[in-house]
């Protein structure tokens, strides 16, 4: 049993994951949490492609690496701190390929109005990340792999109505991470009207 607020307040983005496999039973618990998210008009427009096979993961990793080398690195270097950049670089070039589970989270454009996809798909994705944290797994949501564009779509065999929206990397943490630090909510919150302090 994991306390709800403990899980939510300790969630971290894990870019350093061990290559050890994750059981189908744990993946199932995580996906079951994901599909219990709310969605626009309860349309449940999510689709998950779960890559556990080594060859499939390596092919996706090769696309991520090519996108990184092909321009994403320079873009990231310009606007990330040195330390943050180093972590992303390790993940994009080595860590991603070693990660035992990649879950490509997609939206089905035939399930609802397309304008409802983000507010439906990302709550489900957050359930997925939190469930991983609750089970002791590390996870990371990234949209970077989607910069490889059509090549990712072809690799996964996605039909035109299934739109990839994010990739969740999942595995056992290489090392524990401390609780995250955040700007306090009061610095981001106004009462009744923008500009009035909370």
């Amino acid at each position: 049993m994991a306390d709800f607020f403990d899980v939510v307040l300790s969630q971290r983005a894990y870019r350093a994951l061990r290559p050890d496999p994750v059981s189908d039973d744990l993946i199932a618990q995580i996906l079951n949490a994901a599909v219990h998210a709310p969605s626009g008009e309860n349309s449940q427009p999510w689709v998950f492609v779960v890559l556990t096979d080594r060859a499939a993961r390596q092919q996706l990793a090769d696309l991520v690496r090519a996108a990184w080398d092909g321009g994403v690195r320079e873009f990231a270097r310009q606007h990330l701190s040195e330390r943050f950049f180093a972590g992303v670089e390790r993940w994009a070039t080595v860590g991603f390929g070693d990660t035992p589970v990649q879950i490509v989270v997609c939206g089905d454009t035939t399930a609802c109005n397309e304008s409802l996809l983000p507010s439906s798909i990302f709550p489900a994705t957050q359930n997925l990340l939190l469930a991983a944290q609750a089970l002791g797994l590390g996870s990371l949501l990234s949209t970077l792999p989607l910069l490889a564009g059509q090549q990712v779509i072809d690799l996964l065999g996605l039909p035109p109505h299934i739109r990839p929206m994010g990739v969740v990397s999942l595995g056992w943490p290489a090392r524990p991470l401390k609780k995250p630090t955040r700007m306090p909510f009061a610095a981001k919150t106004f009462r009744n009207r923008y500009g009035n302090p909370w």
Copy 2:
């Protein structure tokens, strides 16, 4: 203490809420959960405008009602089931105005690349909804109020770089709801490639 999976697997969209107030302390716990979500490049681009004042809530409710009457009703009637439509109609015309707390969730376009806003704002919003559930409150995420467009922006005094992305209604449930039913995750999940059953 609330068990994580209990909370996640019981979350419901509550359209019937009591008008009784919700304490600032509970709202603070919920917003603190929200800001612990992950965000693109840890940019934390969320902004919350929390409407607790009766006049402010009524003004927003009037805009929602006008948008409903001005075309959203007909659109909704065409593609929602009769029962679902009836619930939304009650909420848009009466329930919304009686709700004690409305939280307008916004994205700050100066905090990160705009393409990262949905994958940052909606995970935080899901934390917000789950935290409400963990505390025994009912909540609802809707993008319908944003159909009132510029009038909502003017009412809240939002500057151009603060984009409203969703509205969370918050209050004590008028009646308890059973656990949600969902399509099983396996019906939405493929292994390694689209089309291969999980």
